[in-house]
Each structure stands twice: as C-alpha cells, then as structure tokens.
Point group: C2
Chain length 302, copies 2
C-alpha cells in the first residue's frame, strides 16, 4: 500500500504570501492523517479539496504556534459540519488544555469524540494503529519539547494471480496462498503459492522530523525510510542562527538523509528571509541527491 502526502504549508513561523505555516496531509487508502496544523490549515484543506471528515488522526509535533494554531478552528469546523466519527489527536503535554479552555470559552461542545493522547517519550514508541497504518513517535531536538512521527503502512498479503489459479480451489483455502502458504487439495494436489501469487508489496515508510537541530540522535529512528521530511529553515549563510534557534540548514538535512540512507528527502520550513528555495536545494544536493525542496501544494508519492 502506498502513501501520498499533500503539502499544506512550507513556511517557518513567519508565513509569506506564497507559503503557509506547517501542515501536511498524509493519505493512505481513503483516510487522511494530518501532521501539524499551523494557522490557516483548514483554509488550505479547502483549497486542495481535502474533506476534513476523512481525517482520522492528527499528530502535532510541538507547541510553537506555527505548528498547531489552526487546530481549534479545524476541530470547530468539523463539528459545525456535524462530524460523528471519533478523532485521535496526539501532541505534547499542554495541547489538550489549550483545546479544552477554548472550547469552554465558546460554551460549546463538539459533535464528535476526541481521543487525546499526550506524548512523553524519550525513544521511538508506537502510539497508533488502524486498518491502514501504524504510527511511531520519537524525540527530536528543538528549543521546546518536540516530536517526530514515523508512519508505516501495514504489511499486505501475497497477491493472487487470478489468471493462473485453478478453479477447483475452495475459497476458504485461497487465504492460505495470500499468507504465502501452499494449498493441498482433497485429492492431494499441491497448489504452490509461489506459482500463483506475487510477493506482498513492500510497506511504505514516511518519517516527519518536525523542527529540530541537526541531531545524530534521530538516525536510528529514521534509518532507511522511503521518504524523510527534515526541516531546512536556513541556508549555510545562516548556519550560526540555525544552531542558536535549534533549527537546521538545508545542508544538514541532506547530511542526515545521507547518513540515514533514506530513499528520498523532502525539505521545508523555510525562513521568510528567502524568496525562493533554490539555494536550499543546491546546498542539500551536495550531501544527498534524491531531494525535493517543497512548496505549498506539492503532492509527494511515498
């Protein structure tokens, strides 16, 4: 099963006319998973025709405003539209209180149930699984408590090659083939799974590293993923500023991608001082070749 990722914002704290604050919508089958939710995320979702009712879970990295300020408005809009489906929300301690206090102030209640889970981990930890994906959370290294998330599609079975399959196999036994087991018919005939199936597609993995300094500590968590999102707030010209603000340069993002041997790197969260991301791309490419410098609206296949 593949994943696709709609990029809803690529600015850092100061948005620009072309870039909204951080948010990404990860899609698996017909479900969406929202990763961070800067101010105006619900406006971006509407712009890109993503129905909020398809969002099954929200993952917030940290409590700097540009990563969560759009959340309460989004939750309210879901309620106004009459959502009934439960929604899972993950984020650092404090997020639930912020949502609750705003809900109390409006003397409202939502039309649906929220399952809050506050994150407090010091190593990679699974926190979510549904019919499409499992999600693990891991610490990254920013000015305040901040988490990355790793999304992995669930393993699928062997795929039946219908055209070669003998018609006399009972339906109930076909399941064995999808598990990679041979089927033995009542007359003793062996139906080898290798002849009548293709191997399961590989799982797809996506690691989102939120806001972080260049941190070798995260390598074990993101090793070999299909797609890595790493922030690249600054170019080398402002490497010192990256260090003091617990952000990364594009070059450092490239270096981490190389060190973690990922297949594809995507970068974003650009400082508003940059009119384009061309220098980011050039500098990251020195370290790692397969890279996309994101813009709002990009659709990434994972």
């Amino acid at each position: 099963m593949s994943l696709s990722l709609k990029i809803l914002g690529t600015s850092s704290a100061t948005f620009t006319k072309e870039r909204n604050q951080t948010a990404q919508a990860l899609k698996s089958n017909s479900s969406y998973y929202l990763i961070d939710c800067g101010e105006g995320t619900q406006i971006q979702l509407k712009k890109y025709s993503i129905k909020t009712n398809k969002i099954d879970a929200v993952f917030i990295s940290h409590l700097h405003g540009d990563h969560y300020l759009g959340l309460f408005g989004l939750l309210s809009s879901m309620s106004l539209k009459g959502r009934e489906k439960r929604l899972s929300i993950f984020g650092p301690k404090g997020l639930q209180e912020i949502i609750t206090i705003q809900l109390q102030a409006s003397q409202s209640c939502f039309s649906y149930q929220i399952d809050f889970q506050e994150i407090n981990v010091d190593t990679i930890t699974q926190i979510y699984q549904d019919k499409n994906i499992k999600v693990e959370v891991f610490p990254v290294y920013h000015r305040i408590e901040c988490y990355g998330y790793k999304f992995t599609t669930l393993p699928e079975g062997y795929k039946i090659i219908k055209s070669t399959l003998p018609k006399n196999i009972p339906l109930i036994k076909i399941k064995n083939l999808t598990k990679g087991k041979d089927v033995i018919l009542d007359d003793g005939t062996v139906i080898p799974y290798q002849k009548h199936t293709t191997p399961p597609p590989a799982v797809a993995t996506y690691a989102y590293c939120a806001d972080t300094r260049y941190a070798l500590e995260i390598l074990p968590y993101i090793q070999g993923v299909d797609t890595l999102y790493h922030e690249a707030t600054f170019t080398e010209e402002f490497a010192n500023r990256a260090e003091t603000t617990f952000h990364a340069t594009a070059s450092q993002a490239g270096l981490i991608a190389h060190q973690a041997q990922v297949k594809q790197l995507i970068i974003g969260h650009y400082s508003a001082r940059y009119k384009t991301n061309e220098v980011h791309l050039q500098e990251a490419k020195v370290e790692f070749d397969n890279i996309i410098a994101l813009n709002d609206g990009d659709l990434i296949q994972i």
Copy 2:
C-alpha cells in the same frame, strides 16, 4: 478627522474560498485599530499591506473562534518582528487566559507589553482613548457574552483661514481662534474667530455590532452614527434559524439601521450557504437605502 475601514473577513463561522472569518482594520491618521481577529487575519493583513506595527489596539467582541482565533498568531508575529510598542487588547473574560496559556506552552515571551482589559459591562462605557479616537463598548445579544464597539474621532478645533488672517496676531493667541474664541489685540482690535476660521469638522462615528440577534436594546448605543456594521448572517428564508442561533437577518440589519437613523449601514458575517450577498442586499434595502453588502477587501470611508 475621518475614519476608513478595511474589511478583512465577511464569512461567519464557516469560511469559504472567497470569504475569511471576521476581522476589520479601522484606520485613523496612521494608526490602525483591529476589530475582531478570526483565523488567518494576519494573512489578510499582509495581503492588504497593513503593517501590524501600526495596530495600536485590538477589540475582540466574543470568544467564538471565528472572532478571535487569529489573535495569538498575530501577537506572536508582532513579537517575531521585534515590536516594542505596547498593545492594548480588549475582550471578554477568558481571552487573557487563552493567550497566556498559549504563550506558556511555547515557553516564549513577547517583545512588547500587552495591556489587557477584560470587558464586563451592561451599558455603553468608554474603555479607550488615544490621540485619534475614543472607544466605547456596549452589550449585544448573542449566544454567549458578546460586545459591540463604538469608535468616535476626537473633536478637532476650528480651522484657521490663513489667507485672511492679519499678520500681527501673536502666535500664542491664534490658539484661541482654533477654540472658537475671538482674539483681542493689545491695541483693542477684535479679531473675530468666525471671520478667520471654518467650523471644526464633525467627529466621525463607527459602531460595530459584532454577532447579535435583532435587538432594540442596542438602539441607544448606535443612534445616528455615521456608519453602522450589523451582522446579516441569514436572509429571510432562514429567519427562524437566525432567531435560534442569536444571529440576524439582512432585513433586521436594515430595520435597525432605519430605527437608529444611522447614515450608512454595512453588513457581513454571511452564512456559508450563500454563494453571493445579493439577496442580503435586496432584503436589507427594503428597510434602509444607504447600505453596502461587504466583501473581503472592501475599503469603507466613514
């Protein structure tokens, strides 16, 4: 002194592709006064090239998200830009706590001082005055505690007609003319103010009625203002829904404008069910003629 009003949002709670949530920027001289601040207001301010450092005070009507969710992001951006000037914020009880808890969560402090004043009044009450305007607050009638604001420019002096003014008047005595007083020179000559000045320009008045049901109770507060903003969430077709949700129809907005004998009515806060505001305009015009059905980006002279 005149006022001008930039309309930053005209949707109700559910924004649309064409309409942002409620916010208005009132301008007097070179100062701006922000009235309500729905999500994305800072994006609208940038779009319309209004510098946030020119905003001297913020007036929030009530704590439904579509009227204040953009505030924390705006305050944060002001700080990122290094604002030093104090900022006054007015709003119902609860607003300060929401801002404070978000600031604590981000482990930040702002670069400037905020003067919070929580509103709790049951009749019209002056709450603010600076070199440009005075502001009064009054109760309106919505589902939760909600306030309207009345903005009045400060009275100006008589305007000197320089071309007719005798040259032998001491500078210090000219001030008397601007106060509408005659000047008597040392030789006994009387310099009549009526001959050498034009009367002071009238003060300009703007009343913003936020979200409210049709309420005769507000008439004394808005009587005869130059421009009245009244919400017009619904058309007559949904008059019942207006009543149950403590909102108004366009027709009721027109009726209030007529009853309060205002000079100009502007309406907004349209339900997302309407593709245009043409029916709102038609229905309001039956009750009151000088009316503008607002769209995002409109500039209103008061």
